[in-house]
Amino acid sequence: MSNIVELNNLTRRFGTLTAVDNVNLTVSEGEFITLLGPSGCGKTTTLRMIGGFEFPDSGRVFLDGHDVTDLPPYDRPVNMVFQDYALFPHMSVADNVGYGLRIAGVTRADIAQRVKDALRMVDLESKAQNRPSQLSTGQKQRIALARALIRQPKVLLLDEPLSALDLKLREAMQVELKHLHQKLGITFVMVTHDQLEALVMSDRIVVMHDGALIQEGTPTELYEHPATPYVANFIGTSNLIIATVAETTADFIVGSFGNARLKASSNGSKPPQGNKITLCVRPEKVRLLADGQSVPDGFNVLNGRATEQFFHGNAARIAADIGADAPFLVDMQLGAALGKSQLPGEGMQVRLAIHPENVTVFVEGD
C-alpha cells in the first residue's frame, strides 16, 4: 500500500506557542486514521495543514507523492468536513452539494446527476431544495459529508465531525461513517477528542499531546499496550499506581506501594531496584474474588476495602482502597453469573486478583 499522506517534521507556531511540534506521520491509502487528543493538543492544526488552511513553519506535507506544502486548499486533492459543517446559508442543499462541481466546469446535467447520487448516499434526496437553516444538526452533518465527497477526494478530512450531535445520533453516525469508509475506499483522516469514537471507528489512532505525537497504533495496540501513562489514562480508564521497584527477575518486575506488592511481566525492561515506576492496570482486567475462593495460579492478590459503588445497568464499577494514592477501580459485567446484590458494599473487605500479564510498567523517564 502506498502512502497517500506523508507529514515530514511538521512544525507550526502561533507566537510563542508551538501548536504542532515536529510531527511525522504517514497514512496509507484507504486507511481510516484518527488524530486523538484533548483540545489544544495540535490535532486540528495538523489536519488544517493537510487541508491547506494552515502552513507549517517548517517541514513538508506530501499528498499522493506530491509535495503540496505551499499549495492553497483549492489546489489540493483533499476535502474537509468542517466542525460546524460550514454550509452556505444562501444556497439550497442541492447547490451546496454541487458547489465544487459547478466551478470545476462539469456539465449541468452531470452535476444534477452527481448531486442526486450524493444526496441518495446520505439518504437526504428529499431535502435537495431546502435551505441549510431548515435542516437538523444531523442532516447538516450528512450534507457536509455529501458536499465533501462529491469531488471524489483522495483524502477526506473530518474535523470533530460528530461533536455537535447528541449521543444516540453520534453512535449511529459512527457506524454510518465507518460503513461509508469501507464502501468508498477513500482515505479518512479524522480529528476527535473522544477516545471512544476513535476506538470504534479507526483503523489506526495517533495520540497527540502538546503538539507532539505520543503514540500511534491500532485501537487494540493502544488500548493493550499504551506507551505512556498519559496514553493509558486518555484511552479508556486506567488504575495508575506510583510504586518502587522491589525486585527484578528475568520475567517479572515487582513493585511495592503502601503495604502491597504487585508483580508485572517485565517485557524485557529491567529497572534497577529502588527506582520509581508507574504500574497500570485496566479496571476490567481485575477479578473480584468471592469469599473463600482461592487465588488462581500465578495471579497477584491485593487486599482492600470497598469505598464506593457505581451502577451502569449492565455493568458495575467498584472503587477500593488498596493503600495506593488513588482509589483502585474494578469493573464487572453484571448478569446471570453476577448480580448487583453480590457486589461488595461500602466498607467491605475485598480481595482482587490480577494476572502479571495485565500489569503494565512505565519506568520513570521513559
Partner: protein
C-alpha cells in the same frame, strides 16, 4: 388588578412618553404639512383649500421636476461611488488586518469625521477643489494644467465628491458589520471545494454582505436627498437640489403650500426606497449563527 392588567398598565406607562413625543413632534407636523400642501396661495397669504395645483406644478414646471431629477441622480451617484470606495476599504479592514486593535483603530478612523462639524468638513473641500486649491496647484505642478480650472468647485462633480466624503461612514458601518458576521469557515469551505479566492468572493462573501450594502446605500441615498448645505457651499448655479428649493419656498419665496408639497414628494420617495431596501434585505437575510 390581576397580573395581566398590572403588566398592561406598566407597559402603557413605558410606551406613553415616547408615543406622545412622536405624536406631537412627528405625526402632527407631518399632518400639518400634508394639509398645507393642498392650500392655495395669494401672496403673501395662504388660503385653506383642497386642490392639486402645487403637486401639478411640481410635475409640469421644469424648474421643479428638473431639480428633483437632478437630486435623484446625485443621490444615486453618491451612493454608488460610496459603495465602490467603501466596500474594498471595509473588506480590507475586516479581512486583511490581522490585529484586532489595528482593525478597531482603522474602523474608528473612518467613523470619527462624523463627530467633526459638517460645515468644517464641507469647507475643507473648498480649499481642495478651489481655483487656488490643492488639486489645481498639484495639477499645475505636475504639468497637466497650465492654469487653474474652475470646474472642480461649484459643480455637480464637486457636490458628488463632497457628499460622498460626508456620508461614506454611513455605508462603512453596515458593510463592516455584515462582513464581520460572515463565518470564515464558509470562505475556507469554498476554497476547500476547489474555488479560487476571487470566485469565492463573488459566490460567498459578496452575496452574504448584500444586506449591509443595501442598508448602507439606503442611508447614503436618503441622507443625500435631504442635503441642502453641500449644494449651497460647493454646488454653484446648476447645483441646486430639492432641499434647497424647499428651503426657499419656506423662506424668501414664502410659498409654504408648494414647499409642503415638495416635502411630501421627498418623504414619499424616501419611504419607498426604505421599504424596498428593507424588503430586499429581509429576503436575503440569513441565519449566519
Amino acid at each position: 388588578m390581576n397580573h395581566r392588567q398590572r403588566h398592561r398598565v406598566r407597559l402603557l406607562g413605558v410606551v406613553s412618553g415616547p408615543a406622545a413625543w412622536m405624536l406631537a413632534f412627528l405625526f402632527v407636523p407631518y399632518a400639518v404639512m400634508f394639509t398645507y400642501s393642498f392650500y392655495s396661495r395669494q401672496f403673501p397669504m395662504m388660503i385653506p383649500d383642497f386642490q392639486f395645483g402645487n403637486y401639478l406644478s411640481l410635475l409640469t414646471d421644469p424648474q421643479y421636476y428638473k431639480v428633483l431629477l437632478r437630486t435623484l441622480k446625485i443621490s444615486a451617484l453618491v451612493s454608488i461611488l460610496s459603495v465602490l470606495l467603501a466596500y474594498p476599504l471595509t473588506y480590507f479592514i475586516v479581512f486583511k488586518i490581522k490585529s484586532g486593535r489595528t482593525r478597531t483603530f482603522l474602523y474608528f478612523a473612518v467613523i470619527v469625521p462624523l463627530w467633526v462639524s459638517y460645515l468644517l468638513r464641507a469647507y475643507t473641500w473648498k480649499t481642495i477643489l478651489g481655483s487656488e486649491g490643492v488639486l489645481n496647484s498639484f495639477l499645475i505642478w505636475i504639468g497637466v494644467l497650465d492654469e487653474p480650472a474652475d470646474l472642480f468647485l461649484y459643480s455637480q462633480f464637486a457636490m458628488v465628491i463632497v457628499l460622498t466624503y460626508i456620508y461614506i461612514p454611513f455605508l462603512v458601518m453596515p458593510v463592516y458589520t455584515s462582513l464581520e458576521k460572515i463565518p470564515q469557515n464558509l470562505v475556507e469551505a469554498s476554497k476547500d471545494l476547489g474555488v479560487r479566492p476571487f470566485e469565492t468572493f463573488l459566490k460567498i462573501t459578496l452575496p452574504l454582505s448584500v444586506p449591509g450594502i443595501l442598508a448602507g446605500m439606503t442611508f447614503t441615498f436618503c441622507l443625500t436627498m435631504g442635503d441642502f448645505v453641500a449644494p449651497f457651499l460647493v454646488g454653484g448655479p446648476d447645483g441646486m437640489m430639492i432641499a434647497n428649493v424647499v428651503q426657499v419656498q419656506f423662506g424668501t419665496a414664502f410659498n409654504w403650500p408648494l414647499g409642503s408639497a415638495l416635502s411630501m414628494v421627498m418623504l414619499a420617495i424616501v419611504l419607498i426606497i426604505i421599504s424596498a431596501s428593507d424588503k430586499f434585505e429581509r429576503a436575503g437575510r440569513l441565519d449566519l449563527a
